[in-house]
């Protein structure tokens, strides 16, 4: 009853298809009459031979296919056996061994989706197996040989950002023997870590850590470090990025007009984005910020404490006897409670490191100035990391006083009434929610992390940005350092708030993915990509709007019947093979290689036109009538 309008793609003039039906040692043949399936399959036009085997996946089964291809001149093969997830690759390889293109093969699942799912209906199962085989045979008439797509690969990485994430990623790649260019917009490497003193949880100094990372870079001649440099333009795709770098805006002003770096082109295979974070900048009046000079953000306090000398900590000439730390400043914000950020959203995320940073600094202050009273205002103490809880324990033992507030009712900072310049008023939920007042000489705001404002880079690289404004990975678990743009990777706090050890792990993970991308002189891609038939493309352009992958479909000027025409062309380096473009093409000029619409139409025809079962005389030679 086939009424297909499908035109054969460019299948063989005379298909000679071999059909192999696996009994799976009774797993299939106890339900499906495999001999009947084979006998009936022989009636389908194009089928040159059909056979039954107890274990098609066994070496003799595979060898039989390869021999038949050679001796019987088969040009297409169907195996009806278990799920394609188990053995499609096995039989593609067997077909290839026989001398055929591995894609001239169709796998039919008659175990998981027939014998195991219809054991109460053996007759129905047998008919269904025949239908599925017929669909496969029909499809094979439209199947062409396919080849892996190979693109030249420039085995060099670009790392954007010279903080610890960028330094670590670049050092790792160089250490593995790959070429790396590291660009940093400022004059020095090390980024935000340069502003820190002692680091938790190892209690080592920040400077040696940066120095070690730097030594690692210097040790490898394969690393080119370009400071005061930014990315100006990017084109291309995985394996073939053309990047123009030039002087950073601030540096350009200082340099002479004819900067030799202006417009320097780099060809790289992959790009790691390690642009880091900024500290949250409190709004004027937020926890008294900028209204009271005794309210300072954490980075300022870290510097103050690191430089402190003498018996007492002094702030603006006044001794600090009572010191407070306010958690969650710029983090865990609640709509309607906290003023929105410039884009209208609040920072509803946790900045991950501020709790431990606050306790680390509180303890450091207490250790340095034992008589100082230290107060901690938090919602939850999130000392989650290895060794972090220790700071919380020690802080409690050291007599640091903890107060707990609710995010929707944050503490208020006001002028002091008991001889201190300021005081914090809050409902403390560690004591029945009673209102308490804590007089302070200095309040440190544990400011959260916000994404760097790198709108320019985001638009140059077409980077996806999440609801929290940090750069967005493809999938947090399947592909945590990859972006939706193939070949562009994320490292460190450009992606989300992270502690130093986590930043380094993330950078190395990105480097590992980069090393994979740069492993060969060619990038190998599966052939299942869209392809445009220029003969059929009329240049209507409707496909472009369907493609979510920037650059996967490009416009190409050409001629059609003497007139100029703008056709679609697929860039296989960027196409993911989703097929969204295929469905809207009015002339069927685009198809997914390996999954063409004609092939699907043919499969439907095969399902509908399958022959009735022809009973085999010697049915089920292996079966002994067991059911399960």
């Amino acid at each position: 009853m086939s009424r297909s309008s499908a035109q054969p793609d460019s299948g063989p003039a005379s298909p000679r298809i071999g059909v192999y039906v696996c009994q799976c040692g009774g797993n299939i043949s106890d339900v499906v009459d495999t001999a009947t399936v084979a006998k009936t399959a022989a009636l389908i036009p194009g089928v040159a031979l059909s056979k039954v085997h107890a274990f098609m996946c066994s070496e003799p089964g595979q060898a039989m296919i390869a021999e038949d291809i050679r001796n019987e001149h088969l040009n297409r093969v169907v195996v009806a056996s278990c799920s394609p997830f188990l053995h499609e690759l096995t039989f593609r390889t067997a077909v290839h061994r026989g001398g055929l293109n591995p894609y001239l093969y169709e796998h039919v699942n008659i175990r998981e989706q027939v014998s195991w799912a219809h054991h109460g209906d053996p007759a129905g199962a047998t008919v269904k197996a025949i239908r599925l085989v017929a669909a496969a045979v029909h499809r094979l008439r439209h199947v062409e040989p396919l080849e892996e797509i190979r693109l030249p690969n420039h085995r060099r990485a670009l790392v954007i950002g010279g903080g610890i994430a960028g330094m670590k990623a670049a050092g790792d790649l160089a250490g593995k023997g790959l070429d790396v260019v590291l660009v940093e917009q400022s004059a020095t490497l090390g980024g935000r870590v340069n502003e820190l003193s002692t680091l938790f949880p190892a209690e080592e100094s920040a400077a040696p850590l940066v120095r070690r990372l730097n030594d690692d870079l210097q040790a490898h001649p394969r690393v080119v470090v370009l400071t005061e440099t930014v990315v100006k333009a990017v084109s291309g795709f995985m394996g073939n990025y053309d990047v123009m770098v030039g002087p950073a805006p601030a540096a350009a002003g200082a340099a002479s007009g004819a900067d030799p770096q202006e417009g320097r082109h780099l060809t790289v295979g992959t790009i790691i984005v390690a642009t880091g974070y900024d500290y949250y900048r409190p709004a004027e009046g937020e926890y008294g910020f900028q209204r009271h000079p005794q309210v300072i953000p954490m980075p300022e306090f870290i510097t103050l404490l690191a430089r402190a000398s003498g018996e007492t900590l002094e702030w603006q000439g006044r001794p600090v006897r009572r010191l407070g730390f306010m958690h969650c400043v710029g983090s865990r914000q609640i709509e309607g409670v906290h003023p929105p950020q410039p884009d209208g959203r609040v920072n509803d995320y946790c900045s991950r490191v501020c709790c431990t940073t606050a306790l680390h600094q509180a303890l450091a202050a207490k250790r340095r100035f034992p008589r100082m009273a230290v107060f901690d205002f938090h919602q939850d103490i999130r000392t989650y990391g290895r060794g972090h809880e220790d700071y919380y324990l020690r802080a409690s033992q050291a007599g640091i006083m903890f107060f707990r507030f609710h995010g929707d009712d944050p503490p208020v900072v006001e002028p002091g009434s008991n001889g201190t310049p300021i005081q914090v008023r809050l409902k403390d939920w560690l004591t029945w929610g009673e209102e308490v007042v804590a007089p302070l000489d200095l309040l440190v705001l544990a400011v959260g992390m916000t994404p760097r404002d790198n709108r320019g880079l985001v638009s140059l690289l077409k980077l996806p940005v999440g609801a929290d404004r940090f750069l967005q990975e493809v999938h947090p678990k399947l592909r945590p350092v990859e972006t939706a743009v193939n070949g562009i990777l994320l490292a460190g706090t450009a992606q989300a708030p992270m502690a130093i050890d986590e930043t380094l792990a993330s950078a190395s993970a990105a480097a590992a993915k980069a090393a994979v991308l740069l492993a060969h002189d060619e990038v190998h891609l599966e052939p299942f990509k869209a392809r445009v038939d220029p003969e059929k493309c009329v240049g209507c352009g409707v496909c472009f709007a369907q493609c979510a992958y920037d650059g996967a479909l490009v416009r190409e000027e050409g001629q059609r019947e003497g007139a100029p025409i703008t056709r679609a062309k697929v860039n296989p380096g960027l196409c993911v093979g989703c097929g969204a473009c295929v469905a809207v093409c009015p002339t069927r000029a685009i198809d997914l290689q390996g999954w063409t619409l004609n092939q699907f139409e043919a499969m439907v025809d095969g399902l509908l036109s399958a022959p009735q079962p022809v009973a085999a005389t010697n049915s089920n030679p292996v079966s002994d009538g067991r059911t399960h």
Binding site: S5, H118, G120, F528, G541, V542, A583, P586, V604
Partner: protein, 159 residues
């Protein structure tokens, strides 16, 4: 309908989710009717409206599109697919085809119960409805082909 009527049901199942989900049903040796035929597809967004309507015109009684839902591995594809299925359903409604013949749903790799529920429900509904009206479907199919051309700014009929 006579009790032995078996509708011809096509299930389009995504490689990432629904196809392994259907495998899991077999691995658990749970049964569903043998008139359910499953084809694996990378993403059902590849199918134009005419594919579905043409299939009905050829005698497919029902099509169950089983995808990954919001877990779709391809960007922006799922909303496109669900809008397209909606449009086909509107066409079917207007052209006198029962809309129960087409359904879009999400099936995960271990969603055994959901798979069984979906295929059994469709089978029951189609058994009640009887065979598809192929002539009505053919008219809708031709219209959808013409509309596809018009949407692209081409004359409704290929020259």
């Amino acid at each position: 309908m006579s009790s032995d009527y078996q509708p011809r049901i096509l299930v389009l199942a995504t490689l990432a989710c629904a196809y392994p989900g259907a495998d899991a049903v077999g691995q658990a040796h749970l049964e569903y009717p043998s008139n359910i035929n499953i084809l694996r597809v990378p993403a059902p967004v590849v199918f134009p409206e005419d594919f579905y309507l043409h299939s009905f015109a050829k005698g497919v009684d029902g099509i169950l599109v089983t995808g990954c839902g919001t877990d779709c591995p391809f960007e922006g594809v799922y909303p496109k697919l669900s809008r397209r299925i909606d449009r086909i359903v509107q066409r079917m409604k207007a052209g006198g085809l029962e809309i129960e013949r087409l359904r879009l749903t999400a099936i995960c790799t271990v969603c055994i119960k959901a798979f069984l529920k979906e295929v059994n429900q469709m089978n029951d509904k189609l058994r009640a409805l009887g065979p598809v009206k192929t002539e009505a479907a053919a008219a809708l199919w031709r219209q959808s082909l013409a509309d596809l051309r018009v949407a692209a700014g081409l004359p409704a009929q290929a020259s």
